[in-house]
Symmetry: C2
Subunit: 364 residues, 2 copies
């Protein structure tokens, strides 16, 4: 049922991704104008993500009817295959943000979705099915939902510590193709009303060339604990990522969170530059209205786009010299969690990574 109130008014808030989960949702990739070779290489990578998460918690895998029997037939343990019409597979962005209260109740926030820019510069058209992925998630979980009127937000544009602080990027949130009629203050107010947070931190930048999302926070910075984040870093001052990382670091060093804490920053160096090969680009259908992928395009590769599930971290790696550092850094931060590295180039080719294709449902 659609509720007319807001989470904050009703005492609900968005928990940290690090809090225990009931399950994880994913959408199955299919569209051949974004995923090369009829999405088969991407499906293989998604399946690896699904089966890895399913070792730790139940997975609800949402699939267009056209792929339903294919996926059901994989008969994956602890994986539940549910029909859901979709335009593409970024459930972090199209899905619901679950909120909870102190009585152990859960509800959903079903944000507006316009494929990262609507008619101005959305990356695919139409996005009618994806706009209802959040509603469908809420209904499958049998929870009521809040629907912020006239407000576009992708789940990958926000991270929370679960203790009142939200982190976003100005690049995404102030982009003219999301909520151009709103001021920064109005956006901040809306975010707090629907996540139950009390303070929003505004990083200036996302990752360089993260053009699909216009710089989602979930590719550049993630809470590892209240008062502590990991940040995508580039040492080389000649690389355009360097200045972005420096500016974000300076910002983080200048602010406090909702509880008045300084923010501790742990850097995780990005992998070396990854670009589309000719073969990869040629495997993608060229379709009017879909964001094009060309040979030589630089991809927004980052280790920060990992996913926290119960007892594990599902980490994208790239067969890159920096892989080991990312694994070690996260191992040191999370000695109690298993690091599960997955070679994720095929997901990256679609424009995002493991965090972008997952959405948690908290355990209550």
């Amino acid at each position: 049922m659609k509720l007319n109130s807001t989470p904050k008014k009703d005492g609900f808030y968005m928990p940290s991704e690090l809090a225990p989960h009931k399950c994880t949702y994913l959408l199955w990739p299919e569209r051949p104008d974004n995923w090369r070779l009829g999405a088969k290489p991407a499906q293989k990578a998604f399946r690896q993500v699904v089966e890895t998460i399913a070792k730790y918690e139940p997975v609800v895998l949402c699939v267009n009817q056209s792929q339903y029997l294919h996926v059901l037939g994989m008969n994956m343990k602890n994986v539940y295959v549910v029909e859901m019409s979709n335009n593409d597979s970024w459930i972090r962005d199209s899905g619901a943000t679950m909120v909870v209260n102190d009585k152990g109740e859960m509800r959903a926030v079903d944000w507006g979705f316009n494929a990262y820019g609507g008619m101005l510069d959305g990356i695919y058209y139409p996005w009618d099915f994806d706009d209802y992925v959040g509603a469908k998630m809420a209904n499958i979980e049998k929870v009521d939902r809040y629907v912020p009127d006239d407000f576009i937000l992708e789940g990958g544009a926000i991270h929370t510590d679960g203790e009142g602080t939200l982190i976003v990027t100005e690049e995404t949130m102030l982009s003219p193709d999301r909520n151009p009629e709103m001021t920064k203050e109005q956006i901040e107010e809306k975010l707090m009303e629907y996540t139950g947070c009390e303070k929003v931190l505004w990083l200036p930048y996302g990752v360089y060339m993260d053009e699909d999302t216009e710089g989602h926070v979930d590719n550049v910075c993630q809470f590892v604990a209240p008062g502590k984040v990991v940040l995508a870093w580039e040492d080389n001052p000649d690389d355009p990522q360097h200045e972005r990382s420096v500016k974000d670091l300076e910002y983080l060093e200048s602010v406090t969170d909702a509880k008045g804490r300084k923010i501790e920053v742990v850097k995780i160096h990005v992998p070396n530059v990854i670009t589309f090969t000719k073969e990869e680009a040629e495997g993608i259908d060229q379709v009017e209205g879909t964001y094009p992928r060309n040979e030589g395009d630089r991809l927004p590769a980052s280790y920060i786009n990992y996913y926290n599930c119960n007892g594990a971290i599902i980490l994208p790696i790239f067969n890159d010299p920096h892989d080991v550092d990312a694994i070690q850094t996260l191992s040191n931060i999370f000695p109690e969690r298993k690091i599960e590295p997955i070679y994720a180039r095929e997901i990256l080719l679609g424009g995002g990574n493991i965090h972008c294709i997952t959405q948690q449902v908290p355990k209550i």
Copy 2:
């Protein structure tokens, strides 16, 4: 996940419909070659059933994508709207039978479905979506499923007392368009293996002119307690229903259940003869391959096709003089349950009634 064992081997059994439910599933009617006037009158009746059940337990309402926004927009309390491609709306028959064990676990039995007769005389074609309704129900409920190989069964063809006894009709179960290669003994064995029952009672007949289902038990006889049933009855010896009811009564008086109890039978008289009007028949698209509905066709109206939900009985009525008797008889049997009569002609016109369009998920 599809399991390779059987419920009986694993200690699972089908509980009585009278046991507490977690929720009720329904499918939304849509096809204009079965439901008159683009299914709008039927949708109104289904909605009344949905909202009535939702007063007592959560309802999961499964809807083709084509009707999703229409139904979501109704914003019904305690009703969860889930996308599910379907050919028609008889979830009693196409859905899963849930089984439980004594440890509080639940699994699904995902029977084969061939639209009541497959290529021999199924009532619609194709039935590809409906054959996966059971699998989808299991996956939405996040339970594993048993899949009896090469075995066709509709959920409306079985009733259980939850204490080891199953009741079926010979008309349906021995029909040559379901499992013609199996003997009665083999069918009985399969039924017991997948419901966990120890004894099958074989009524000879269903309701007269119940031609769609070939005489499902759920239109003629239903357990009201272990050792006690209600039976569709017709006093008039000139009506073809009379002899059917008499034969069923004689059978029930001649047998004992799995626990050795005699069966007490309470008669509920059927309504007066109901036939398709010209206007009703003309409102249905005539389509090759779909069972035709013609003016003057007699409908298999019966009060026995009621549904037991938590604390209530959802009873089809027909604006018929016998309505009051049916209500009183059930009130006397179930003083602790609220009788909720719903005028159900529009559901009956589609070939079934309230029990046929509902499927319970037990509470564990």
